[in-house]
């Protein structure tokens, strides 16, 4: 395929993968401050899921080519990564709201 469309798309996948890993790391750092082992464990698992899904989605980004129809599984992986990080963030916020802390 002529032009830079495939390259731009591959870069967009890589940016998204990096972003999901960065937010996952931020969630783990926040959980580490709370000194609650179960919270840190759950957030770490969610962050690992997000990192793995983000990596799977963004790898082979350079092989994006016309008509491949490869968007769907990678979009699902990316959304899974985002939902995992969102769940980690929600858990962190709710943990802070709990009156029993």
């Amino acid at each position: 395929m002529p032009g830079a469309q495939a390259e731009r798309t591959a870069l967009a996948w890589q940016r998204t993968g990096v972003a999901s890993s960065a937010v996952a790391g931020l969630a783990v750092l926040t959980a580490a401050r709370d000194r609650s082992w179960w919270l840190l464990g759950v957030v770490a698992v969610l962050a690992a899921v997000a990192g793995a899904a983000g990596f799977l989605a963004s790898r082979d980004g350079g092989r994006v080519h016309a008509g491949a129809g490869t968007a769907w599984p990678r979009l699902l992986a990316t959304v899974t990564a985002t939902l995992a990080v969102a769940a980690a963030g929600l858990l962190l916020a709710l943990y802070a709201v709990l009156p029993s802390r």
């Binding site: 798309t9 937010v23 926040t30 016309a66 985002t82």
Partner: protein
Amino acid sequence: MADGDRRPRSVYGVGDEPDPRFSLANERTALAWVRTALALVAGGVGLTSLARLADLGRGVDVVAAVVCVAGGWAAVSAVLGWRRREVALRTGRPLPAPVALPWLAAGVVGAAVALAVVVVARGS
């Protein structure tokens, strides 16, 4: 990849193959929405982290929780929007309007107002 192997069938089984540049542009649009969702989640995590550090109270954590949920919703919206647009491209129909965009704007404004109220209430 053979045409019959591509998934989902509800998208690739209808219409004709569009110009690949349009499909790739659609993909990048979906990824932009996902990055917006990640930004919302990062904002929520940042808010709850700040609330812990500065002892800002539970109001900020509630806003953070809502913002994280909004991020999750935006990510799901990204995939649903990609499907709608891809089907429209394949069937030669006009592209659907961005349904999530006004809700996203309203949500950001709402979160900002809620935070302002929490901060003012705490100060007074």
